[in-house]
């Protein structure tokens, strides 16, 4: 039952993504067409708030609820994997109007057809796993 908190945080996430309209295919199109500030405002203010929170955690050496120190994922610097992987992700993001989070949230909205997207994304993940050694990282 220690895990139940993740169900609550996830529920909060689903509500936030809905109320912010980030799950809308049209909002993603507005963003890529530079025709609205909405998505830029959301991503920008999320990053600024995030920067402050991360700084606060590091400066005050805040602990997790279990008393461990909070660990951050520091990513190894390289260009190909982030650039090429990023471009492929971006192509899919613009086409489907959904990054992985919204694909699941839209199921909750009653759009069962998003199951096809989730299965396709799982297939993409699986194929990446098969050929990752052949790709530049």
């Amino acid at each position: 039952m220690k895990q139940i908190k993740f169900l609550f945080i996830g529920t909060l996430f689903g509500i936030i993504m809905t109320k912010s309209e980030v799950i809308s295919w049209f909002r993603i199109q507005e963003m890529f067409r530079f025709q609205s500030f909405h998505m830029y405002g959301i991503i920008g203010s999320a990053i600024i708030t995030g920067l402050i929170l991360v700084k606060t955690i590091k400066r005050n050496k805040l602990k997790t609820i279990y008393g461990d120190s909070i660990k951050f994922n520091d990513k190894k610097l390289s260009i190909p994997r982030y650039l090429f992987g990023g471009i492929i992700f971006g192509l899919g993001w613009a086409l489907t109007g959904a990054c992985p989070g919204p694909m699941f949230i839209m199921i909750g909205h009653g759009y069962a057809v998003f199951l096809i997207l989730i299965l396709s994304a799982l297939l993409g993940t699986y194929v990446y796993g098969l050929i990752q050694h052949k790709l530049p990282h």
Binding site: F13, V22, Y66, C99, P100, Y126
Partner: protein, 187 residues
């Protein structure tokens, strides 16, 4: 009552952004990292993909929290769309609506274009291929890049990670190619 009003209306960007950062903070506080696309890898592992690639051979039990998180997000989507429905439809930019109408994609007040996201469309070859390729690119790209919007744009940039900046630049290059070059060809 103020809370109900707040929950029953769309949120402005300056509320939405900090709230997303709050989710990242809560997960860090709970000892985990905010990143949705790694769940896809976990689901592959649970389904037995480790028989075919060592990429899926990891202790997925340590990632069950992410499956629970994503289950919560489905509940959140249900709760928000059922109990906190917005009184009016989305305020999408008229320019976007017009540009998309030229491509034959109409905005009919729904959050996604219903002509693409319905079973009738998905049962046509073109509609099916759009879903198949779109989802495939998202899953493949996110794992190659080591993260998606949550892991790179939010978690990574908040932690001043240069790789995440490169990934986000990639997201935009890909998104612009799709929107301005590929959309006119396929729609």
């Amino acid at each position: 009552m103020i809370l109900i009003d707040f929950l029953s209306n769309p949120w402005p960007w300056f509320i939405s952004g900090p709230m997303i950062a709050l989710v990242m903070f809560l997960l860090l506080w709970a000892g985990e990292n905010f990143g949705v696309s790694s769940t896809l890898r976990t689901i592959c592992s649970i389904s037995g993909a480790s028989k075919h690639s060592s990429y899926f051979d990891f202790d997925w039990k340590s990632q069950t929290w992410n499956i629970i998180f994503i289950t919560g997000s489905v509940i959140g989507g249900f709760v928000a769309s059922t109990y906190f429905q917005n009184p009016e439809s989305l305020l999408i930019s008229t320019n976007t609506i017009n540009d998309l109408a030229e491509l034959g994609i109409n905005f009919n007040s729904d959050i996604v274009p219903t002509e693409l996201f319905n079973w009738d469309s998905v049962s046509t070859l073109k509609g099916f291929l759009i879903m198949l390729f779109g989802g495939f690119l998202v899953g493949f790209g996110a794992r190659w890049a080591g993260g998606c919007t949550s892991g790179h744009a939010i978690s990574g940039l908040s932690n001043l990670q240069v790789p995440s900046l490169i990934a986000v630049i990639g997201f935009f290059i890909g998104g612009l190619i799709m929107t301005f070059i590929i959309f006119p060809l396929i729609f």
